[in-house]
């Protein structure tokens, strides 16, 4: 039996749109993952610290304010400074197609935009963390 995936769902920046973050948090939890949700208004520093303290395998960042191009790479930079390269970081929100390449270049593993089913994210996480169990 594999251990359940530990995942941090985080809201960086000042954006208050948390419907998507909470819906996926609930979806991940119902699929058997251990989910930590940060709540609103987290700085990249706070997110990285929480990820370390909670020993997560995955960070799912959600931003709908358009500040993703600043905030997501900042999280990657701070992780790198901490010498962490084994946490999978995902992005989601209102993110224009043309920004996705830069985010991936900065180390964001995948970007899920509006309309993505929870199942697609679960499949991605399970494939990339090498877990098969846990999905209901």
């Amino acid at each position: 039996m594999t251990n359940p995936v530990r995942i941090l769902v985080a809201k960086p920046g000042l954006d208050g749109h948390d419907r998507g973050a909470k819906v996926i948090a609930q979806g991940f939890r119902n699929a058997g993952m251990e989910v930590i949700y940060t709540g609103l208004r987290q700085t990249p520093e706070q997110i990285v610290q929480t990820a370390i303290q909670e020993d997560v395998q995955v960070i799912a960042l959600s931003c709908l304010s358009g500040a993703h191009s600043y905030l997501f790479p900042k999280v990657m930079e701070l992780l790198k400074n901490e010498g962490i390269d084994d946490i999978i970081v995902l992005g989601g929100g209102v993110i224009p197609e043309e920004d996705i390449k830069d985010l991936k270049d900065a180390g964001i593993r995948e970007v899920f935009t509006s309309g993505t089913p929870i199942k697609a994210m679960l499949d991605f996480i399970n494939e990339n963390t090498g877990t098969t169990g846990g999905v209901s």
């Binding site: 000042l14 419907r19 819906v23 948090a25 209102v94 224009p96 309309g115």
Partner: protein
């Protein structure tokens, strides 16, 4: 009448029997149960039997008369149409001023300002938390100087302005008054709205700063200030819009909004205000979502509920205190990133439901808003959509055209009943503020949002382009991008302002504000004094942070 209804009941029974025995076995219905978004059952057909208990004069009344179910004005859109008011703002004040003029030149009737997140949360553009967010979801306003630029060439006595600003609402209102002074327009000539609705920020929208108690004081201070100085200003826009966007049903949206409204009225009465002095300037803001008839029923039921509460519970006498006047915006959360042009059609039906529900003003969303801030071309189509409803369809020619429909009246009754159950539940918990502190509304919304998502994923709820009728698409073109250089420009302008202004006047005004905040007097006058000498939004909000502390959200899901 009774004899007629007995005959009808017998006829209906026979018809249903025939349906069950002969029709349905050969032509089954598409679903086992038909439900509205709020899960109110929808029957095959409605007849006078469904509204037997409705008393026309008591429950509907004439337009412009209690309980205002049919509308707040006697002639509604036969007199004049609703105010077409597109929410706009991005980048710097210069950029947004250009967009305002573009919209006004094309027949928009009122302005609606979108502020960026640092402004909404009371941070200047040079605050560390502002980085990456300046000018993104709205215009960046750091001081009166930005506000002067925002309204440059727009006479404030000729236009009404709605400002989506909550925690720092008093500060932005003060800046608007000060711009008026510079244009030679007195406060009593100003017309518009500040959103000023903190409770829904805790519930659903997230731009809170201070804890509930001092926030409620700031709100009742603005009520008082507006009722004596700005007779044409809506001192609050009690908003269900964001509650719905966060995933609530129609019933939850309306019920939680009315419950918040009750909390504001109680706070104002407790602060010593007279109900008939402030209540006429309370306004509301609702969402127009996809389930067409339930939306119409929601608007009608909201008017009836509010009128009854204001009259029966609070003893308001002025008819204007009883009228629920509201702004509507079409549902942003129903826009899809897939096949974005289809959003134009969604928006059109949503706009129609708002108009058939008797809205006082309307924002129609742009097709590209699931992808980015709207481009100029998209905004024009959105504005034209409501102009088509207003000038081409004829739906404006009579008041409440759906009134009297057996279905609409029954649905209005059912929405009202379900909403009252929620309102009473919240009352039993000790009111809206207590319920929020316990996370009640937040959890209810969260459950509805999750359910809605599962319905989409199972295909039970059809979303064209997302789970049905998908096609291969090219990435969308011509999206609006906010130039990152604007953020840097904004910080430079702020820096320059800080060097040029009268430092002594600024620090003196902030010290007086602090004193006022510690005391119990109205805080609007000292805020206005600080704004006039170019104290920044961040400085003013920081003074209040020092005195009031900051709200900490419980992260629940």
């Amino acid at each position: 009448m009774e004899q007629k209804n007995r005959e009808l009941a017998a006829a209906k029974e026979q018809w249903e029997e025939n349906l069950k025995e002969k029709v349905l076995p050969r032509f089954p219905e598409r679903k086992e149960r038909f439900l509205t978004h709020s899960e109110i059952p929808v029957e095959t057909v409605y007849t006078p039997l469904d509204i037997e208990s409705t008393d026309y004069l008591e429950d509907l009344g004439m337009p412009g008369e209690y309980p205002y179910t049919r509308g707040v004005q006697p002639t509604m859109y036969r007199g004049r149409t609703w105010t077409m008011r597109q929410y706009a703002g991005f980048g710097t004040a210069e950029e947004t001023n250009r967009r305002f003029k573009y919209l006004l030149d094309r027949g928009q009737m009122g302005l609606s300002v979108a502020f960026d997140l640092p402004t909404q949360i009371g941070y200047d553009s040079d605050h560390p938390l502002a980085f990456g967010e300046v000018g993104k979801v709205g215009v960046a306003i750091d001081s009166l100087r930005d506000m002067e630029t925002l309204f440059e060439g727009i006479p404030l006595d000729k236009v009404s302005t709605s400002m989506t600003i909550n925690s720092p609402a008093a500060v932005l209102l003060a800046m608007y008054i000060a711009v008026g002074e510079k244009q030679g327009v007195s406060p009593e000539q100003l017309s518009g709205t500040i959103q000023n609705d903190i409770l829904k920020e805790y519930i659903a929208r997230g731009t809170y700063i201070y804890p509930p108690e001092p926030s409620m004081r700031l709100i009742t201070d603005t009520f008082e200030y507006c009722s004596t100085n700005l007779p044409n200003w809506n001192s609050i826009s009690i908003s269900g819009y964001h509650i719905r966007e966060a995933g609530s049903t129609a019933v939850q949206e309306m019920a939680f909004t009315i419950a918040n409204g009750i909390a504001y009225v109680e706070a104002a009465i407790k602060a010593g205000l007279n109900i008939d002095e402030f209540a006429p300037r309370l306004s509301f803001f609702f969402n127009a979502h996809l389930n067409f008839f339930e939306e119409v029923a929601k608007f009608r039921a909201a008017r009836r509920i509010w009128a009854r509460i204001m009259k029966e519970r609070f003893g308001a006498k002025n008819p204007k205190s009883l009228m629920l006047r509201f702004h509507t915006q079409t549902a942003g959360c129903t826009l899809t990133a897939q096949q974005p042009d289809v959003n134009i059609i969604r928006v059109a039906y949503q706009a129609l439901s708002a108009v058939l529900g008797g809205t006082q003003s309307l924002h129609t969303n742009s097709r590209d808003e699931a992808l980015a801030l709207p481009s100029e071309d998209s905004v024009l189509i959105a504005l034209r959509t409501q102009q088509v409803v207003a000038y081409e369809t004829g739906v404006t020619d009579t008041v409440d055209p759906l009134g009297g429909s057996y279905f609409i009246e029954d649905l209005t009754n059912r929405v009202e009943k379900a909403a009252m159950e929620y309102i009473n539940r919240i009352e039993a918990m000790g009111g809206a503020v207590r319920a929020i502190e316990e996370g009640f509304q937040q959890m209810e919304i969260q459950d509805s949002a999750y359910k809605y998502q599962l319905e989409i994923e199972s295909g039970e709820r059809v979303v064209i382009g997302v789970n049905k009728f998908q096609i291969e698409e090219k990435p969308p073109q011509n999206l609006l991008r906010v130039d990152p250089v604007l953020e840097e420009n904004q910080r430079q302008k702020l820096n320059q302002l800080k060097q040029e202004r009268d430092h002594q006047a600024v620090s003196g005004s902030l010290a007086r504000l602090k004193e006022a905040a510690r005391g119990s007097g109205n805080m609007v006058p000292p805020i206005l004094d600080a704004v006039r000498v170019y104290a920044t939004l961040g400085e003013i909000c920081d003074v209040l942070r020092d005195v009031f502390g900051e709200y900490q959200q419980k992260a629940i899901f």
